[in-house]
């Protein structure tokens, strides 16, 4: 299956280049270390704010990789090669984004679980948070990819990408962080939030590739 080949190729490239999975994980850890220093070490505050901060920092970590997603492909002809391959560009886009995500983002939920515990969450709540993050990360990567397909290489590209991606990432932020907070409070709504997080990601998996493909096609012309 040709899409599978693209997935594996991108995963390999993502794993090898630019620090691979270590780069987002290190950035993630750095921000999570910074946050308590900024907001104060009071256990109640950290516990209450923890899930939200961890989700927010996940978004930042995903955004960091945005420019690299399509930046070189446009200039070095890989994009044209993909377009000429006869495969629908949306499938190419999906395989590419998921490949890079799988290779570079897998440590994040693990680090998030540890961070959750460090922020005073009980292990189970931190686990639910990590699980919702695992559900949310593909969605966040697709949103970022779409923003990157639109704005990468433009003036102040990184900033524009973040500005575009932020409102679109709101549903995932809300559901994922709420899942963490609800499971902290023992609220049964936690599973509902987890479901919504998964649903949002699936929705994005289904539709974002078309938007990404449209944006890439516009660049190729």
């Amino acid at each position: 299956m040709r899409a599978g080949r693209i997935f594996l190729r991108e995963a390999r490239l993502g794993f090898a280049g630019g620090g691979g999975p270590a780069a987002p994980a290190a950035f993630f850890l750095a921000c999570l270390t910074l946050a308590p220093l900024a907001i104060g070490q009071s256990p109640e505050t950290l516990q209450a704010a923890g899930p939200g901060i961890i989700c927010f920092v996940t978004l930042l970590a995903v955004l960091q990789g945005a420019e690299r997603l399509f930046g070189e492909d446009v200039t070095d002809g890989t994009l044209e090669a993909y377009a000429l391959s006869g495969m629908p560009l949306s499938i190419v886009a999906l395989a590419k984004v998921l490949g890079v995500a799988a290779a570079t983002m897998w440590p994040l939920p693990l680090v998030a679980w540890g961070a959750g515990i460090a922020y005073g969450l009980p292990a189970e709540a931190a686990g639910i948070l990590a699980l919702s993050l695992t559900a949310a990360i593909p969605g966040l990567c697709l949103i970022t990819a779409m923003a990157a397909a639109l704005a990468a290489g433009a003036r102040r590209g990184g900033l524009v990408i973040a500005l575009i991606a932020a409102p679109l990432a709101i549903p995932l932020m809300v559901f994922t962080a709420s899942a963490g907070r609800a499971s902290l409070a023992g609220d049964p709504a936690a599973s509902a939030n987890l479901m919504l997080s998964c649903a949002s990601s699936l929705f994005l998996v289904a539709l974002a590739p078309f938007a990404i493909a449209a944006a890439l096609r516009a660049r190729l012309e």
């Binding site: 779409m146 639109l150 704005a151 433009a154 003036r155 102040r156 590209g157 900033l159 524009v160 500005l163 575009i164 932020a166 409102p167 679109l168 709101i170 549903p171 809300v174 559901f175 709420s178 609800a182 709504a189 919504l196 949002s200 929705f203 539709l207 938007a211 449209a214 944006a215 516009a218 660049r219």
Partner: protein, 242 residues
């Protein structure tokens, strides 16, 4: 009607009438609305005179959302049928929508302080309008960032359409988020417990007045943009010959 107006000559003929009509109606209606809203209506039973802020806040809110919808529709028309006029419309709409969204946020805060003691509250309505403002900013920023005009137009069109598709989901998620936090206790409602007849009249007049104002602004900007593009084309031809 869309393909009818997409013809530049027909749009020019349409605009020649529509622009002054919109402008005149806007002036009349807003003047009437101000009269009824500020001078000829009694203060509210609960909110006193501060209810009068509603007469600018609600029209701004309506425009903040409505202009975004218009921008997304124009973007769709441009994306599918490549009518340049649709792209001109979308570009014209964006900053106008952004300004009205900002006015909505600011007047909302000013209304909130005396009525609900805080300048800002993170509830579904206000947060949604803030997101709306960000969507406008993103569109404007993307267009400004991409140098090639055609690519900028097409990318921005895709962004506007994606924003439109996501809008119900974003609003749902914000309502969900608000529900979890506030359990419906302090509900920041734009019209209070119930809107009185003497308040409905100025409100409706102002909504229509502001809508015609926005129409005037957008059509006027479209005309300016067409002039600008024409000038740009002539310049390119002149420079190519030289």
């Amino acid at each position: 009607m869309i393909s009818y107006l997409a013809n530049p000559k027909r749009f020019e003929a349409f605009a020649r009438i529509a622009i002054p009509v919109c402008g005149g109606l806007a002036l009349l209606l807003i003047a009437a609305g101000l009269w009824f809203g500020l001078l000829d209506s009694p203060p509210d039973r609960y909110q006193g005179d501060t209810i009068r802020i509603m007469y600018v806040h609600v029209p701004a809110a309506w425009l903040g959302l409505g202009l975004y919808l218009a921008m997304a529709v124009a973007s769709f028309v441009y994306f599918i049928w490549r009518h340049n006029l649709a792209d001109v419309a979308a570009t014209a709409l964006a900053p106008v929508g952004a300004v009205f969204a900002a006015i909505c946020l600011v007047t909302g805060a000013i209304w909130g302080k005396p009525t609900w003691t805080v300048w800002w509250v993170w509830d579904a309505r206000l947060t949604s309008m803030l997101i709306q403002f960000l969507l406008f900013l993103g569109y404007i920023a993307l267009r400004a960032a991409i140098e090639d005009e055609r690519l900028a137009a097409r990318s921005a069109a895709i962004l506007a359409m994606v924003g439109l598709v996501n809008l119900p989901i974003v609003r749902f998620s914000v309502e969900w988020w608000d529900g979890l936090l506030h359990q419906g206790a302090t509900v920041f409602r734009a019209d209070g417990p119930a809107i009185h007849g003497s308040q409905l009249l100025p409100l409706m007049i102002m909504v229509f007045g502001f809508t015609f104002l926005a129409g005037w602004m957008v059509l006027y900007r479209m005309r300016s943009a067409i002039m600008s593009r024409k000038a740009g084309n002539l310049q390119r031809i002149r420079e190519a010959k030289a």
